[in-house]
């Protein structure tokens, strides 16, 4: 049972990785700072490194939400199994929909649901739940968004250039931000490692403790850290292109200076809270930053419809994952047969969703998609280039070498760039 739960936890870590690649890499890919594949590889490596850096969050997860140990309720590996099931399924569903929902909340939701159904409502440490999950969930995106707004304003104010005599606009030359994005997005990936990989470590540690294989209250062991780091890195490398699309173009049209500001804010927020052991949602912080930077630049429209859809996804994450977790817990309670049924059903559901995603990936090439792409044409093109190169393996010819001249970024450029891109690969 313990082995089963650990492998399930690692699979969750994997889904976490590809679900959250977007957080770090959506904006640099959108602005053309890094090629999609390079970006994803970079993110994977940095996630790996980040996972080793700080294990504060793992301690929060393993010691916080559900009362464990001798004084609390004995949590069993079965409950954790059920919770993970809920988390993974919800992660897969939101990935299919391209929603940047929080993997962390899916995890907590699943666990809480499973614990309530399997043990009872008294097993939940509500105080800890509110302080360590609910409050950060509300404030982290607001903080990150506010800071990103301010930073975007600053970045634009500091780099706006006018002719001192005529007052007309000079060439802005903000191309430097594109290079800077490589660094800031790397930091976000690193931060993601320090926060999200930790959650799985916490879970595995919780399993080991509950099975009596580890001292209650101790931190994660080295092999746990290593396997979790690897799982999240592999997950990141496999890339969640769907969510990258939503984050990179769905919310607002991202320019390098904005991306730079947003990523700085995201990385700072996550690193700061990782340091204090807040298990906050990387996804929500990153979304908050992207929106904040969108408001910060004049003439940018934030697509509040998409933002609302994402917010709705956030609201549903805890309860939805909780319900799946609870159902699984009830099933698991019936005994070994229940566990097997749950495992088989879960695997089947994941496989089905994976196959389903394959089906609609082909659909990305159709004409409707291109029309819908609207203003964010540049990004769609890149994404399709990536998809095409994966499919055919030789589409690298013209598409990857996108002419990303730094001059492209001037304010009144919009129409010209778009026309150039519309006759791209189709």
């Amino acid at each position: 049972m313990v082995a089963l739960v650990i492998s399930l936890a690692l699979f969750f870590d994997f889904t976490n990785g590809f679900h959250d690649t977007a957080n770090a890499m959506a904006t640099p890919i959108a602005t053309g700072a890094i090629k999609p594949k390079t970006a994803v590889a970079l993110a994977a490596v940095l996630n790996l490194v980040g996972a080793y850096l700080s294990t504060e969050v793992a301690k929060t997860v393993s010691g916080g939400i559900i009362k464990e140990g001798s004084d609390g309720i004995q949590i069993t590996p079965e409950i954790i199994f059920a919770g993970l099931m809920g988390a993974i399924l919800w992660n897969m569903i939101t990935w299919l929909k391209g929603l940047p929902s929080s993997s962390s909340h899916a995890l907590f939701g699943g666990l809480i649901g499973a614990a309530i159904a399997g043990i009872g409502i008294h097993s939940i440490n509500f105080e800890s739940l509110i302080q360590k999950v609910i409050l950060p969930a509300i404030f982290a995106p607001i903080i990150a968004g506010g800071v990103a707004y301010l930073c975007t304003k600053l970045a634009y104010a500091l780099t706006s250039r006018h002719d001192p005599e005529s007052g007309s606009k000079l060439t802005q030359k903000r191309g430097g931000f594109r290079t800077g994005q490589i660094f800031t997005s790397s930091l976000v990936a690193l931060a993601h490692g320090t926060n999200d990989a930790q959650k799985t470590m916490g879970i595995i540690t919780l399993v080991l403790i509950s099975a009596g294989l580890q001292q209650p209250g101790s931190g994660p062991q080295l092999w746990v850290i290593t396997t979790c780091a690897l799982a999240i890195a592999i997950g990141t490398y496999s890339g969640g292109w769907r969510i990258i699309r939503t984050m990179g173009s769905g919310l607002t049209d991202v320019k390098p200076a904005q991306g730079f500001a947003a990523e700085s804010s995201t990385a700072s927020a996550i690193l700061a809270s990782s340091h204090l052991g807040f298990a906050l949602s990387t996804t929500q912080v990153a979304s908050g930053s992207v929106i904040g930077s969108g408001i910060g630049r004049r003439g940018t429209t934030v697509q509040w419809g998409t933002a609302g859809k994402i917010a709705l996804g956030w609201l549903f994450t805890l309860p939805a994952a909780g319900i799946v977790g609870a159902l699984t817990a009830l099933l698991v309670k019936t005994g070994v047969v229940g566990v097997i049924i749950a495992a088989v059903a879960g695997t089947a559901a994941v496989t089905y969703m994976f196959l389903h995603s394959k089906k609609s990936r082909v659909g990305h090439h159709n004409a409707v998609e291109v029309e819908e792409a609207g203003q964010a044409v540049q990004f769609r093109k890149k994404k399709k280039a990536a998809a095409a190169s994966r499919a055919k393996d030789e589409a690298t010819s013209g598409v990857e070498h996108e002419p990303v001249v730094s001059g492209v970024e001037h304010e009144p450029v919009v129409s010209g760039v778009k026309d150039e891109q519309k006759d791209g690969p189709s």
């Binding site: 970045a155 690193l271 700061a272 340091h275």
Partner: protein, 73 residues
């Protein structure tokens, strides 16, 4: 109390992000001035731009130094 920690996170985020963004923006601005084809420009513009970028990098390194337990212990 968690509120205090929340404020800490907010403050740290603000300071870190603003430092990085301001330094980098200044660097970008100065590089842009240094790269201008026409007009007079002082000699120190490009070195100063590099200094800005370097300070920005240092700020990031310092932040990481603070966070990684291996160093701060």
């Amino acid at each position: 109390m968690k509120w205090l920690e929340l404020v800490q996170v907010a403050g740290a985020t603000l300071i870190a992000a603003v430092t990085v963004v301001v330094l980098y923006s200044l660097g970008v601005r100065l590089t842009a001035i240094a790269g201008d084809v026409s007009g007079r420009k002082p000699v120190w513009v490009r070195p100063l731009a590099i200094v800005c970028f370097a300070l920005c990098g240092l700020a990031v390194m310092f932040g990481l130094y603070l966070i990684i337990p291996y160093f701060s212990k």
